[in-house]
Structures are given as C-alpha cells and as structure tokens.
Symmetry: C2
Amino acid sequence: MKVGVFDSGIGGLTVVKSLLEHQLFEEIIYFGDTARVPYGSKDKNTIIRYAIEAVEFFKNFELDMIIVACNTVSAYALDEMNESADCPVIGVVEAGILATANSLQERDANILIIGTNATINSQAYEDGLRLKNFSNLHAKATPLLVPLVEEEIFSGEIINATFKHYFSKLERPQALILGCTHFPLLTKELQKYFTQETQLIHSGDAIVEYLQNRFAFEKKYKNPKMKFFASENPEALRTIARKWLNV
Amino acid sequence: MKVGVFDSGIGGLTVVKSLLEHQLFEEIIYFGDTARVPYGSKDKNTIIRYAIEAVEFFKNFELDMIIVACNTVSAYALDEMNESADCPVIGVVEAGILATANSLQERDANILIIGTNATINSQAYEDGLRLKNFSNLHAKATPLLVPLVEEEIFSGEIINATFKHYFSKLERPQALILGCTHFPLLTKELQKYFTQETQLIHSGDAIVEYLQNRFAFEKKYKNPKMKFFASENPEALRTIARKWLNV
C-alpha cells in the first residue's frame, strides 16, 4: 500500500517513525507545509483551506490512503479532507481517542490532553472521549513545547520551567494524550515529570494500532520507498527526516 | 501623511506604538500576515514572495510610504518591495543600524544583535554596522523569545531560563539591538538581565528617528485614523492592538 502523510511541518515525522517501525507500507509520500507552519495558532477556516490544498497535492500520486499526522488538522479539517480526497483520510485524533479507550480500564480515569492552542480549543479529543464514556477530562494548551522541540531543546532548565508553568496546578493524570506530533520528542522528560504512573498516548503508536485494526496488512516492507516534499526548503525537511528517522 | 505598516503578525504593533507616541501620521494602515506567521523560520524566497504580496495589498490605499515593521522582512525583502511599490518602503533594520551608529561614540563598542533565525542568518545588521566602521559585533538567534511574547510571558522562571540559555556565555554588550519587533515587550527583563550598562536599540524608536531625519513632518496628529487588516482573524489582531496600543 502507498500512503501519503501530511503535516504542517516536521512534527509528522514522529508518526512516520512509527509507520516505519511496523513496516506497514510499501511507499510513503510525506508532505510538510513548511512555508506556512505552524497551524496550531491559526484559524479553523485557514486550516481547512490549507488542508484541502494538501489533498490536491496528494492527487499527483495514486495513494491508498492519507494519514493526517497533525493533530490540529485532524481536529478541524478531517471531514473536509475526506470529501475532497479520492482515498480514505485518517487522522491522529480519532486514532488517539481509540488508543486511549483501549488502554484505560476505568471510565473515570483522569485524562490530560495537551496540544496547540487550536487543537485544545477544538475540544476534538474531549468530544470523542465523552462518546467513549470518559468524563474526567482535562485539557491544557502547551504551545511553547512546539518551538522548544523545533529548537531541539528536549531537556534542561527551560523545559523544567515550562512544564512547571503548564502543569504545576494540575493533578497527575492516569493518561496523558500527546495531542501534537512534536511532543513524542519530549517523552523522556514528560515521563520523568509525571512519573511512570502516567501512561503517555503517542499519535504514531495510536495510528499504527488504528490501521492494524481497520486494514489488512499482509506483507511487511522493511525498506519502503520514501519521498519527502515541503512547501519550502524540502532539503531542510529531508535533513531532519534523515536525522530523526535514521533513513 | 498616510503610512502602511507591514508585519508578519502582531510584533509590528510595537512600531505603531512609537509612531503614535510621536504623532507623525494622519492615517495608519496596518497589515499583519497572520495566516502565515511566523516568517522568522522561513526561507528567503518565501519571505520575498509574501512581502511582495503585502505591497500589492497596500496598493488599495494611496500611501505616502510603507514601513516594514518586521526585521526578517526588512533583512531579506526591502529591495524587492521598493521595486514593486509606488511609494518609499522603509525597513526597521536600516533604521536600527543608523540609530545604533548615532548613539554609540566608540566604534569598537561591543554590540549584540538578537533576532529570529532568518534575521540573524541574513547578517543584515552586521553588514550595515561594518559599513559604519563597527567591528566588535556579535549576533545570537533567540527564536524562543517570539512565542514567549505571543503567549504573553514577559517575566518569570521560563524567561530567566531562556535568557540564561541564550546569553550566559556572552559578554555583556554596550548595545543590544532588539532585532525583532516582539522583543520590546521584554525590555524590562532584558534591561534587568544585562543591567543599565547596556543600551537597548528598539525598532520603533529607531524608525521614528530615521523618519524625522529623512522627511519633513509639519504637523502632529494626535488621533490618527487607524485601520487594522490581517490575512486571518483580523478581529484577534484588533483586540491585541487595542490592548497594546490603548486605542
């Protein structure tokens, strides 16, 4: 199968990493809208417009599916993308909700969702989790974590001060949904801050679980064909991809 | 006189604040490209393309001049904007260089320039200051300060940790050029960190000085007409403008 992976920038590479680990696809076409990144501070209408343009871009390749590896786009534009696309479009939010529901026994578990301003304002995770009968839901926009990851600051004093700024008044959750594909790069420090008592829900792992439930993957592809596109400076994206994915 | 003020987002409002304080203009038209902000992490070609689109937008108003209230755009696209525009286009970088040269006596003064990745990579400040015979020049990209200001975090633990991260290995400069129009909002903490020994160069004040040297302003306008446009969510921009500018 041939998949398109869409993100506003580089964060979606953490989802590609999970796809590669599970060797699900024969070919992966990645598109990052680096000329207009970030989406997380932008408006619903702008996000939908950009997302539909990405679908148009993917029509140049005969894809079996498109994965939206960006929580903000998944939260706002998934329906519109599905209407425009000629293949299924699958988002990390829906996958994250299912992964959370599958991994938590108790419906009164304390769940904390973190993400960009746009993702948190959408309440997409809360809406989906409520349909699964979860009720003890907390959400916190943590937009500063995005530029920190982009600056490759993954630990140290600024990270500690930023965690304290966002989390010091919150109870320790049983599950922490990493509602932004940049955040898996902070897994180690987040796990340290919240302790091992907190289960982290990762968009990449969630997508793999979702895909394996929904589609039949008959073969493994150890060395899939990969192409990386970006709306500006694709070479910079390719350099980061090589570094993060070891490809 | 009627002026257009262009910025990638909201930072340029700090320049408008200086224009208002000096009552220079009869009418101010502000345009923030909020649908594509930030520019500071983007490519030269992308920045030039967006800047020329802004010039086209301003052609709807009969302007006497355009002020580029964004250091990144000033560093990369000023010539191209001047070619496209039918009025003078003036940038904060050129103004900042002149203001620095006017305020420092010694040509061997230690000058530190801070800004976005794009502005610092352009070396636009260093090039201009070298032409003025300054040689003790240091530049540091401080991209995290932009989202901190956008989150309205102006002091406290994260700011201290971030200053330490960027500045702890640098000598205290005699002049610090705030090479991003977000940074004046951190003036108080920057002045505290570097002490009163360091003179801060502010794009808004620099532009006023530059304009007063170059143009004849015969009248003062206490209550100029003001219009705020944005490529997305102009209402959000207007709310911030009212708050920051007290208008």
